[in-house]
Subunit: 228 residues, 2 copies
């Protein structure tokens, strides 16, 4: 994990509440907890070896993210995410990653531009060698650089949010080396458009990049959480 990621996650992987929050979120997104499951504070607390307090705080965050629905004095129920939800997020992300690329074209710094070029160079190397973990890490990083380069706190914030939602899906698609290669090539084109200061092209390419990732996922029949 990069230095920035740690900060952006409010350093909260290192508190009990943070651990609880991330654990439960992972469990929901990966399908361990399914739609309509009831999560009880004491059960989770005992399972993770903590008291109810950090669990409650984590619940509140998950509720705000829409992953949990809390009924007062009754219980917490998993909202889960369906295949359609993931599809919708890809569409939303497509538009916003496009906007991000457009803004990045205007605001990117020399430093970030160089990091972007280096990222693509490395990605192509690891893709050719079939290094799965590195490919995923570099892919995440590529988008992270663009988020920062957009120079928009808001866009950055929300794109990271969307990213989280599809992380599980992305992991499984990128690991397939054909998609990894194609993805790299698309990254290169986006980078070149930004380098050439062609905002329209950058937006269009980033747009298509996400749509392609979506189609790839869909074609592979990948699915994350059971439809209810």
């Amino acid at each position: 994990m990069t230095e920035h990621d740690r900060k952006s996650e409010s350093a909260d992987r290192y508190s009990l509440r943070g651990k609880v929050f991330h654990t439960i979120r992972e469990d929901i997104l990966s399908g361990k907890y399914k739609q309509h499951d009831e999560l009880k504070e004491v059960a989770i607390a005992e399972e993770l070896g903590v008291s109810r307090t950090p669990v409650r705080e984590a619940f509140r965050q998950l509720e705000l993210e829409g992953l949990l629905q809390m009924i007062p004095n009754k219980g917490a129920y998993v909202t889960g995410i369906t295949l359609k939800d993931i599809e919708d997020i890809y569409m939303i992300r497509s538009l916003l990653e496009g906007l991000c690329a457009r803004w990045a074209t205007k605001h990117i710094t020399q430093e970030k531009m160089e990091e972007l070029e280096e990222n693509i160079y490395l990605s192509e190397f690891h893709a050719s060698k079939g290094h799965g973990e590195q490919i995923i890490e570099l892919d995440n990083r590529f988008h992270e650089i663009l988020y920062q380069a957009s120079d928009s706190k808001m866009l950055e914030h929300w794109l990271r949010d969307f990213h989280q939602y599809v992380k599980v899906a992305r992991k499984q698609t990128l690991i397939q080396s054909e998609r990894g290669m194609a993805s790299n090539q698309e990254h290169r084109l986006i980078m070149e458009a930004i380098r050439d200061k062609d905002a329209d092209r950058a937006e269009e390419l980033a747009n298509r990049h996400i749509i392609n990732a979506y189609h790839n996922m869909k074609n592979k029949g990948l699915f994350i959480a059971k439809e209810e």
Copy 2:
């Protein structure tokens, strides 16, 4: 507040935590608490006459929304939102409200379509009479109907989020009757495009609708929170 709004906000305006959460959020968005202000749990708790527990839970939610930055064992600092943040949100919303209108065109039910027409009818009436409060309420409702009609839980969720951020700004722009009138006319065109099943036009119009609202705000020199 409509029945749906109550549910969508997890009925939490009615718990202490909910009250604390909404109170602090309002105070940040309206500028009472400014960038870099430090919020102390006990101070807020005493001020609102509650214990630290609900305050802490509210803090966690505000942190997730990006309105508060928490430094472990140290304190909670207001992130606030700047004029640029609001501008960025308008751009983001423009794209997503467009997408929403597109999807609504495909998925809207007879019932929601009728509600939309009625909304516009009422809006024009109240605009002609200069009824400020009703205009705002109906405007909120117009967008809320579209969110629901999009048939996308995800898009609905996030558009509501964005909406919250610019609510303060919107309130001040809509209250000006010229903008209220123009806004109504734009609503009517969007509604007609949806009724005609013309998704492209609906998207384009919704897009422009938000951009127009943004320009109106900008021209009036409206500003919400001091730039840091």
